[in-house]
Amino acid sequence: MTPHVLTRSLDRSATIFLVVVAGLGVLIPLSNLLLPAGSALQVPTYLVALFGKYACYAILALSIDLIWGYCGILSLGHGAFFALGGYAMGMYLMRQIGSRGVYGNPILPDFMVFLNYPALPWYWHGFDMFWFAALMVILVPGLLAFCFGWLAFRSRVTGVYLSIITQAMTYALLLAFFRNDFGFGGNNGLTDFKDILGFNVQADGTRAALFALSCLALIVAFLICRAVVTSKLGKVLIAIRDAESRTRFLGYRVESYKLFVFTLSACMAGVAGALYVPQVGIINPSEFAPGNSIEAVIWVAVGGRGTLVGAALGAVVVNYAKTYFTSGPLAPYWLFMLGALFILVTLLLPKGIVGTFNAWRESRKATEKANAESAALEDGVGEPKPAE
């Protein structure tokens, strides 16, 4: 993107967001690596891994907000793209194990050895090279999204129908990846990783670096999203969200726009998945579960759809709540709280945390302006119509 695009795309909350993410991305790894363990300000490694996971979730949330918040496409299968990116990275990590697997086979991953694979399946070739895997991380989810979107948008599948078939897509992938014959390790998935680019995945340094990289990816993803939504294309997307057929009658090829943004979003989700896998140490078909995708949508709803910052914030808040409530005496009741959170947010904060905050700020501004100019401008805050 040109610098022009960059400056245009940054408003105040976006700047704060970027500063905070960049700050955390630098400070947390430094604190983890440089300060002595046990010191009050040292961030323990397990928290670094945890925050790294949150950062990946935040990218996923951004990718969902881009299509749902700005274009009204509610994908209930975005977890599929995330998981596919994760699998591409997982395959690279599996190949890196080499002969250090339990059976010591230099080529075949362990699960293939004990399931008597004679040779590496063709689709596993090339994943020993990082660049190839990295390409696949973007290409595979992107291609799936392109094919799926090309079919769906061209035939004008919209609203709940689209949501349901994205769910069918991820469910079908879930079942497929569960199959051991599919060649991706079945239910156990891919795990027991050793190295990434020659660095031990479990080393503190690698974890800190992965965290910093996730923050960087989050920043880049955020900038891309901002650039898209603040461009004229962003206006077209909102137009499609609010009045799809009107946009068509203005001469816009709606399906191309949807396809573009859907594919872009899937690629971002794939990158998020790829960063996620080395940090949590496993990728398995349950990432395809429709429930996961729905949950990711809920992060966006909690944070505030159509705000980008809100999506990332929602991902962190909900996942932090999950981490917090699944330990300790509250553990048996955490589902009650999570469920209640979802219900209450949709009922009481329909615009999400950031959306509500923005609305509040706008209305303050409006009142002041009204007082100052004595000019009535009551309903200055246009409420985005819910996409259907």
Binding site: L74, F148, L151, A152, R154, S155, R156, V157, T158, G159, V160, Y161, S163, I164, I165, Q167, A168, M169, Y171, A172, L175, A176, F178, R179, S245, P290, I294, V297, I298, A301, P332, Y333, L335, F336, L338, G339, A340, L341, F342, I343, V345, T346, L347, P350, P386, A387, E388
Partner: protein, 537 residues
């Protein structure tokens, strides 16, 4: 051991005839020793005891063996005394037949394993060939058909001559044919006749019998058997198509049942209710509670438990549905995707609530006797529970359809969903209609839970396994059209069942999902889509 037993069985059948003729009084000695062996709690001793008792010719043999089969035979390991608890609750000493007041404290039921259970069945088969009850005679003949035990031939011949009941006679003839087929010294003509009879029987058992035939049969017989196998096979092949169709209908009915409530809440009202599965689950748990109460208070009513559960489940799930509509959904009309999120949260809460209240494990919901078992229709087995569920589903569908068409509520419901403002201005209390419609959809989901409790787990996860399928059915069939849901469910059910034998259960399911995705491209609004201006609104 088992061969040993079979040797004795030959004697047994003769002995029974003798016993029947002379009604000789029991002699003390070997019989009592044999009976005492039941008390050793050792499977091989029990095996010997069965053989000895069955061949003893003692009139107590039948009560003892049938008591053994039904777990009413108990033994005291210390005194080696064995007791029969009769069906009427009276207890007798197995060795002497003398009445006993009560079982000793340390008496335990004589244990069986599968091998012994088969021995018992065979023994009873022999013992009941001459039973006055025709059903029992048929069962005995069938067990002889399976065992094709040569020693039974003379009894069968005798019985066949006297038999007047047509179907029993046919069963005897088949049993006789089975024996002859395996009898080494039967003539070729006899064997060929036997092949013809077995071929006419034409089912899987007949196939098993013919394929099990060794290589020592005359070439003519082998040829006849081979052609009989081929013909049975092609016959069975045809039946397997019928069978797949039936399985498809049955699966379709389950899908329809799970989806039909959703067709109301989602299809008619446009509410994406992710907690729909939990309504099904509530219905299933209602059934569980009803059965628990019946088991502890009114055990005689068990067969009616489902009939009692249906209205209760409707009320429970319906009431919860109304509460959900009033508490959550009514604030979210016009924002269908937000309802999706809120109801998803709700489904988590409901699941965990049930998990807390009833525990995380499966709960037992029994099948009433009329829901158990199966009957044969031609060469396919139709289980009663599936059949009843199919009938039940269709009944629910018809009632629902009639309700929507002919009742005031149905009219109001259609009015409100088509034009809310207009309906309100006509004096319809739209919010009441909304609540009732949602309650109706939920209540029907509850009823579905009653039926599903008969074939699936009753656990907090029950609803989750149906929610995706239900949405697929409704979307495939076309939102807002009950007939679409019906056709959608049966189409998916049948397609699934025809794919399953070819592709396997997992790939079959994946294929169905991919087909649905592609189908939606072709018809973005489902099978029975409404067309025209109203749709765009």
């Amino acid at each position: 051991m088992s061969a040993n037993f079979l040797d004795r069985l030959r004697g047994l059948l003769l002995a029974i005839l003798l016993a029947a003729a002379f009604a000789a009084p029991a002699l003390a000695g070997p019989f009592e020793d044999a009976v005492a062996k039941f008390a050793n709690d050792d499977f091989s001793d029990t095996d010997e005891a069965i053989g000895a008792v069955a061949t003893s010719g003692n009139p107590l043999a039948f009560p003892i063996i049938s008591a053994l089969q039904e777990g009413r035979l108990s033994a005291d390991p210390d005194t080696k005394k064995v007791f029969v608890t009769q069906a009427d609750g009276k207890i007798i000493d197995a060795a002497t037949g003398a009445a006993v007041d009560k079982l000793p404290d340390n008496a335990a039921a004589v244990r069986l394993n599968n091998r012994l259970r088969r021995a018992v069945e065979a023994a009873l088969g022999g013992l009941t060939l001459l039973s006055p009850d025709p059903a029992k005679r048929i069962a005995a003949a069938q067990s002889v058909f399976k065992s094709h035990e040569e020693s039974a031939l003379s009894v069968i011949d005798g019985a066949l001559a006297k038999e007047t009941n047509k179907s029993v006679k046919a069963a005897f003839a088949e049993a006789r044919a089975a024996i002859l087929l395996y009898k080494s010294d039967a003539t070729e003509v006899e064997k060929l006749e036997a092949v013809a009879i077995v071929k006419a029987k034409g089912d899987q058992e007949a196939m098993a019998l013919l394929t099990g035939l060794g290589s020592d049969v005359p070439p003519n017989v082998a040829r006849a058997a081979a052609s009989a196998i081929a013909s049975i096979q092609s016959n069975l092949q045809m039946w397997s198509m019928v069978q797949n169709a039936w399985y498809g209908l049955s699966l379709g009915s389950v899908l329809l049942l799970a989806a039909i409530g959703l067709a109301i809440t989602f299809g008619v009202m446009g509410v994406i209710n992710m907690a729909h599965g939990e309504m099904v689950m509530l219905g299933a748990y209602t059934t569980f509670v009803v059965q628990e109460v019946i088991r502890s208070r009114y055990p005689g009513l068990f067969d009616y438990s489902l009939l009692i559960a249906v209205p209760l489940a409707f009320l429970v799930a319906g009431a919860v549905g109304v509460a959900i509509e009033r508490g959550i959904i009514r604030f979210l009309y016009g924002r269908p995707l937000e309802t999706l999120l809120a109801t998803w949260g709700l489904s988590l809460v409901l699941q965990q609530a049930v998990r807390t209240a009833f525990g995380p494990t499966n709960r037992e919901v029994g099948n009433p006797s009329w829901m158990s078992g199966a009957f044969e229709l031609g060469q396919i087995t139709i289980t009663y529970n599936r059949l009843w569920i199919l009938c039940f589903t269709l009944a629910v569908f018809v009632i629902l359809l009639a309700m929507l068409r002919y009742t005031a509520l149905g009219l109001e419901m259609r009015a409100v969903t088509q034009n809310r403002r207009m309906a309100a201005s006509m004096g319809i209390a739209t919010s009441r209609v909304d609540a009732l419609t949602f309650g109706l959809g939920s209540g029907i989901a509850g009823i579905a839970g009653v039926a599903l409790s008969q074939i699936d787990n009753v656990s907090p996860n029950l609803g989750q396994s149906y929610i995706i399928d239900s949405f697929m059915v409704v979307v495939f069939g076309g939102v807002g059209n009950l007939w679409g849901t019906l056709v959608g469910a049966f189409t998916l059910g049948i397609a699934n069942k025809f794919l399953e034998p070819v592709a396997g259960a997992v790939l079959g399911k994946i294929a169905i999902l991919v087909l649905i995705i592609l189908f939606i491209q072709k018809r973005p609004r489902g099978l029975f889509a409404l067309r025209g201006r109203a749709v765009e609104a």
